[in-house]
Structure formats: C-alpha cells, structure tokens
Amino acid sequence: MADEVVLLDFWPSMFGMRVRIALAEKGIKYEYKDEDLRNKSPLLLEMNPIHKKIPVLIHNGKPVCESLIIVQYIDEVWKDRCPLLPIDPYQRAHSRFWADFVDKKVIEVLRKILFTKEEKEAGKKEFFEIFKILEGELGDKPYFGGETFGFVDLSLIPYYSWFYAMETFGEFNIEAECPKIVAWAKRCLQKETVAKTLPDQKKVYEYVEQLRKRFGNG
C-alpha cells in the first residue's frame, strides 16, 4: 500500500529537523511543506488545532504532532529498518529521559541568549551548565546512543545548526567550553542524513538576525 507522508515544517526549526533526520534515516519518501509562521496555512491549523505549531507529520491523512512524539511514531510504524530507539526497555527509558532533558532545557536557554538582553548572561551560564551535564552523559561514547546514532543524538544535533548564531550574538565560544559536544556534533555531521538535513549555520544566523530586529533587540 502506498504511504502518503507529508511534513509541515519550517526550515530553521530544530524540532522539524529532528523529524527530517528520522525520515531520512528510515528512507521514507515524503512531501515537505515549509510554513510561513506569520501566516499559518489552513492545513496546519486544521492538523494541529491545539498548538498551531510545526512540525506536523501527516501520515495517510492523520496528523501526528510534537517532534519527539513524531519520531517515536516513525520508529514504530517503520520498525523494519534502522531503529531509532534501543530495544531494551531500560535503555529506551534512558533515551527518553535524556531527550526529555534536551527538550526541557535547551530551547529556553537559547531564547535567553538570543532574544533577551537582561537574561543573556544568565542564559550563557545555564548553557554551559546544561551542556556540561550532556558532556557527562556522553562520556567517551561516540554517540549518546552508544556505538550508533540514536534518539538522544537526533533530539540534540539540530541545535548545532544554531551554534554560530548563539556564539556571535551571545559573544561566547562554545567549542572552548564544550569541546566534547562540538566533536560529537561534527561526528554526527559525517552522517549523510544529518549533513543533508541541517541548514547552513550562516543561513540560520541571518534568520536569527532578522528575528532579533523584528523583536527589537538586534
């Protein structure tokens, strides 16, 4: 049976990137639709009436929302290839915990650094605290998933495309403080699925510059 897969997304969104990487890992063909977030399409509003946000995966007409929920859905539907989560329940719980940690912590600190003046310094301090914890979890493993790229790697790597913007506007050097994370990110970028999905860091920087001007702290 032919599957119809549509992804409603926005190119600089780290949440959307997670889904794009998952779809690429599984070799799933899909139609990509880039949304204008200032003028959301009727389709987006119909498919995600609760949050009105991207990404939304539409599989044979049925929507799935929230990036990590979408990734798990993809893993469960296309379970015959390239598992994104481990098989063992404890390892799965461990992966979900760390992906949840990324979700709870990173976006907030990014917001403080890029889009506020008064919280910028506090944001930078928290950034290093969070990434030091992540470095601790990574340890000496090549990936958070162990020997292979997995759920936690996928949940975090999209933020790497925002690092240049963070460093420039935040006025700090991420590699100096978190060399392991940057090494891990470069390792992930050697994967074709990641390299093809992540936008160019300069492009993201230009987008962030526009946003900052629009919100008055450019």
Partner: protein
C-alpha cells in the same frame, strides 16, 4: 526471579502517584519510600542527580526518572494489563495528550487557582479552554484509554482528582458539570477504579497542605502569602 522495585515519591504528588497507580494496575509489588522534598535523601540524589526530583522508580538497582518516562518503562517491562495500545497512532495520541496535560493544563490550572489577582479572569479562561480540549478528546469513551484505564488516564490523574482538591483549597471553580459533563463522569469512573482509589492522597490532608504552601487562593480574594 526475585525482583526489587522501589518507588521514591511524595504522598501528595500526582506524579509519584501515577507510578504507583500503574504498578498497582499491573499487580507489581514494590517498596515505597516517602521523600521529604525539603530534605532530600542521599538515595534520591544518587538515583536522580540530574533533576533531584521524585518520582524515581528503581528496578533491580537501576533508576528511571520522569513520571511519563517511568509509565512507558513499566508498560514495556511488565506486559500484562497494557496501558498503551499497540497501534502507533493511538500511542502517539496518548503521548500527545499526556504532554499537553503536564506542559499546558497543569500550569494553567495552577495560575487560575493561585496566580496573580489581576490575571485571574484570564487564567480562568485559559484553563477552561484547555480543559475543553480534553473534554472533546474524551468523546463517548469510558476512559481515555477506551474500555480500560490507560496511560493517558493515569497522566490525567491531575484532572481526575487533584483538580477538585485544588478547587476546594483555593476557592476556584473550574471543572463544573455544566461545562464538562464528560470529564466529570470520567473523573468519577477513574477514582472508582480500585488501583486508582488506593493511591489517592487523603483529601483533607492535601487541602491543608496546599493552603499552607500556596495560600488560600486568588478567588478567595485574599492576598497570596508565600
């Protein structure tokens, strides 16, 4: 095979009660350890160094933290009496609404009960709107999980029991029968299930605790004291 299951929790917390509800539903024996969250035990800090929070499930010495992560671990480890469907679409749906409850409903409910006086009307409206989404999601089902209590019902324990207690403690009215007939019916069904009923903190004790910790509530028109 001897199994050791520990649950670190707090008597009034809906999050740690979720874990106990799931274990009870599956008939899993466990040892409960009550934490004083103002004076956290070395064990808790050892098992959850990242967040330092309850609940934590420790299964044969291995810790799992975050209530929704724990619920999925429980379902994948003890396969009797499943709390999640096998269908990926239904699973995604349950996860979506569980996240919605934790990230949107609970903060909104809290704001409506104990938030700033000047934002009270707006907070009430927002909480009502969010609860309406849940009312619509329930449709004609007996439980969110269908015929039996599922992960989403357990996650919705906040709505099923704690919300009523918050309302009484703070003098706020949110979950009325006129606005939310389905949710009210569901709440009654939910708290009648024995695995759930056994895991509800005593109402009066919880009210006293909430009033002591958060004040008498915005709707009571007293200024909130810290």
């Amino acid at each position: 095979m001897a199994e050791e299951v520990l649950v670190f929790g707090a008597w009034g917390s809906p999050f740690s009660r979720r874990v106990e509800m799931a274990l009870k539903l599956k008939g899993i024996e466990y040892k409960y350890i009550e934490e004083d969250i103002t004076n956290k035990s070395p064990s808790l800090l050892k098992y959850n160094p990242v967040h330092k929070k309850i609940p934590v499930l420790v299964h044969n010495g291995k810790p799992v933290a975050e209530s929704l992560v724990i619920l999925e671990y429980i379902d994948e480890t003890w396969k009797d009496s499943p709390i999640l469907s096998k269908d990926p679409s239904e699973r995604a749906n349950a996860r979506f609404w569980a996240k919605f409850i934790d990230e949107k409903c609970l903060p909104a409910i809290f704001k409506a009960c104990w938030g700033e006086e000047k934002e009270h009307e707006k907070a009430l409206e927002e909480a009502t709107e969010l609860l309406q989404f849940l009312e619509n999601e329930l449709k004609e089902k007996r439980y969110f999980g269908g015929e039996t209590v599922g992960l989403l019902d357990i996650a919705a324990n906040i709505i099923g029991y704690w919300l009523g207690v918050f309302e009484e403690a703070s003098g706020t009215e949110l979950l009325t029968r006129e606005k939310f007939p389905k949710l009210c019916n569901w709440a009654n069904e939910f708290v009648s299930v024995s695995a759930i009923k056994e895991n509800l903190p005593p109402r009066e004790k919880l009210i006293a605790y909430l009033r002591n910790r958060f004040g008498v509530g915005t709707a009571s028109k007293y200024t909130r004291h810290l």
